[in-house]
């Protein structure tokens, strides 16, 4: 089972970012929300190329923050976008959205813990 958030990564980030850690988390949460909306729009528009670029970028930031399961989801969508068979991709984007909400509450908890 892939964990929601890799804690080692998160702790290392806290150390690297020091007092900027909160700012980083806020930036991640706000940008990711926007990016998921864009991903959905590209999927609805059946723009495979745009979808692939957006979800690739999303995968990168999720993996950097330690959101391992979410990053895995992004990778699945990226592969579908690359193959160009977009049928059923919206279901996966729903899954990304659901995962993100969990990551979000976990991270907010993390901010409060500090």
């Amino acid at each position: 089972v892939t964990s929601l958030i890799d804690l080692d990564t998160l702790h290392e980030l806290r150390e690297v970012m020091a007092q900027e850690f909160d700012e980083l988390i806020e930036a991640y949460l706000s940008d990711t929300g926007t990016r998921i909306d864009e991903v959905r729009a590209a999927a609805v528009a059946k723009d495979a190329y745009q979808l692939r670029e957006l979800v690739h970028s999303l995968k990168g930031s999720c993996s950097n923050i330690g959101a391992v399961a979410l990053a895995r989801c992004c990778q699945d969508v990226e592969k579908i976008a690359k193959d160009g068979e977009l049928d059923g991709v919206v279901d996966l984007i729903d899954e990304i959205q659901r995962q993100f909400l969990e990551v979000r509450s976990a991270l907010i908890q993390e901010l409060g813990a500090a």
Partner: protein
Amino acid sequence: MQQSRPLESGSDSTPGVEFAPVHSMRILVADDNRSDRMILASMLRREGHQVLAVEDGKQAIQAFENERPQMVLLDALMPKMDGFEAARRIKALAGDELVPIIFLTSLQEADELVRCLEAGGDDFLSKPYNKVILRAKISAFERMRTMHATLREQRNLIGETNTALVREQEVAKEIFDNVAHSGCLDAPNIKFLMSPLAIFNGDVLLANRSPHGGMYVLLGDFTGHGLPAAMGIMPMSEIFYGMTAKGFQIEDVLREINRKLKHILPVGFFSCACMVDVDFRTGMMKVWQGGLPNCFLYRRGSREVELVESTHLPLGVMEPGKFDASFEVYSLQPGDRFFMWSDGIHEVRNAAGEMFGEDGLMHVFEGNLDPTGLFDEVIGAVSDFLEEDKREDDLTMVELTMVESSELETLVPRNDRVGDSGPKDWKMSFELGPESLKSFNPLPLLQHLLMEVPGLRGHSSDLFTVLSELYSNALEHGVIGLDSSLKSGPEGFAAYYAQREKLLAELKEGSVRFHFHHEPTEFGGRLHIEIADSGPGFDFERYLASEGTVGRRDLAGRGIPLVMALCNRVDYWGHGNEVRAVYEWHREPQP
């Protein structure tokens, strides 16, 4: 770098030992993703670097131009201008400075990675970022960048030094060429090729006219190449031009060059050389060959080649006392051609590694139809044979053609005496005893003295001819009693000179006395020359009466008709062992 770093969890090594500390660099980070950009910037700052963080390719170019970062980390996919295009532009802006570009990507596809490399990317960093990997990459590129900068600095320095060196060499070459000038290599009967590998080289070709209208040519090949090989050429040229212009004999010139080279060249360094002295009037060529490949004497009549082999050690090898200056004598007909070359031509190799060699040369001569084309045919054959850009030695070759003396430009004497001062009315007697006659040639000395007379230099060629004919008659036919009829034919010349050398060596008594008397006239001057020898004389009355019959032919080789043609009067006295000649000369109009 001064910032303290807390111990990493799970690390049992001392921090900072794993990687040598990196110098603080200006690093540009371009990523449209805000959180990723923040993480990377923080990681780099904690390593002590200055970070410029931007959001797209356009901003990256702008920041690069303004801040000149030393390293660039680029996201591949960005709005406005992607990482590929930005990488290309940054590499172009960087010129020959190494600015490492690391692509930030988790692209997995091989063709995408190839795109990054083609755009000028040097490496990749994948997400999630790992600070240990990041540190390793930055540190490796910093070392590479420093090395590249050092290399570039050294290269520029070497380039500048080399330019300065070449410029110096060019100036030195100018001075060098003034000393080792080409003499009379532009004479119509000489063709030559000098194709050196470097500005300075060890091959030398010298040519000069003698005061009596003959021609000396010397081809030398010094040990080695380049500047060290060229050093010996300076004194060789000085001696060659100085002595030949004064009319010294080939053996005197060679003896002096050998002495000088032996003195100045390190052990194991010398000059292979061949020197010839051609007398266009008699068709006689003296050859001294020391260590050059066989010279070719091409006979126009028979269309055959006679080989002129080396019979001596190179110049600069023998102690002066042991040096052998004896020469071979060849009798040449107009149209005969003499070829000298350095071994560069023989050692030219083709693609199969075979040498051109003497066989290659012989092949050209055998296939030749028109002798005037021989020289160019040899060059053509050599360059056809040569494997491209594989030349290993300097190439030098000269062709000297026997011509009638009328075909050569009349000597234009140097008019280096300015004005009218100098001896005009004088008398001088000069007598040589047996010891002097054996080894001393008085002609250059006497010629030198005569040239002091203002205006007489313009007549040096005629005067030298008169003096040398009269002196050789006095010495060779008078004092040592050589028979001039020996001189018929090429073998005759050789026998004549061998005999001359033998008799001189054995000489116990005898003398030659010169008496000069010069008086100025309205238009120039009158020189009385008296030469008396201790020999038995000859039947000059019969000679003068015989007008081209038997008696005159007996005395062939004495050059008396020539002397008579040049002088206003020639009289024989005593038993014919005393000659008096009067040479009247007119001052040439001042230019």
